[in-house]
Assembly symmetry: C2
Amino acid sequence: MNIGQAAKASGVSSKMIRYYEQIGLIAPAHRSEAQYRTYEDADIHTLRFIRRARDLGFSVEQMKTLLALWHDRGRASGDVKAIALEHIAELDRKAAAIAAMTATLRHLASNCHGDDRPDCPILADFADAPPEADLPEVSARFGRANLG
Amino acid sequence: MNIGQAAKASGVSSKMIRYYEQIGLIAPAHRSEAQYRTYEDADIHTLRFIRRARDLGFSVEQMKTLLALWHDRGRASGDVKAIALEHIAELDRKAAAIAAMTATLRHLASNCHGDDRPDCPILADFADAPPEADLPEVSARFGRANLG
DNA sequence: GATAGACCTTCCCATCATGGGAAGGTCAAG
DNA sequence: CTTGACCTTCCCATGATGGGAAGGTCTATC
């Protein structure tokens, strides 16, 4: 199997397969005589594992650990569960930050008549809200999440 | 006021103030004889506006539009509200994606005894879950959101 | 005045996961 | 033997942010 077939079979793009190889998440693929990467069923299995973990929001670093645990027949399930729980906690934090933002925005938007008149409580809030404390517990400060 | 004071007064770091100037989100600051950027109260006001919008998760592009509307005395509040509502919708999509992930993860984790035994339904799922359809309606596929 | 230290400047690099695209090699079908 | 689909490597871009180096400026203290 060439990389294109492997990509289709696993749901991981060719680009990402090469990238994962480059950063050491997966072992270097075997090569054909012409230096084409070749993949066996076991490799596809690994790529699907990665795809699944990625879909669940795990970082490459976490996937490295999970793959290592997967390949370790004697691993403790507690180790895996700990990573999962930590990740859940992180996702919950992100969800809370988003919920805080949408709550504020919904409030502001509901007070904005949203017609041709220039009067707008949303802009008024942006212009006059006092500067937030620099490091709130659950920070509402964060970059644009690429959850698109 | 120098950039450091402006940063403290606005809650936007010096680095980001320079960056916002560079990408044209804010006008180039006036300069002292020694080429130091100087800031007036009106500039701080603008920076706080930006800080507030950023805290509510707006992208730089959206902030550009919001700033333009803010400076346009005759703008229609409907234009502002539309941006806010679109942003709310996007945040809701992200929240839904996160909720889907946590639901799955919580389910898997609850079935994992999490002790010294190697048997682990989390890894079993990762290894055997069928590849997802490539483009689900509310995609669970996304990069790591930097909502830290 | 001189010097120390806090500030400022520009410039480059890193993040994280992902894709785009160029230049060139390979393979299979017609 | 050509065409087109594939593969290779290499470089660049994203978005918002920070780190840090090399060098200039300002201010307070001796």
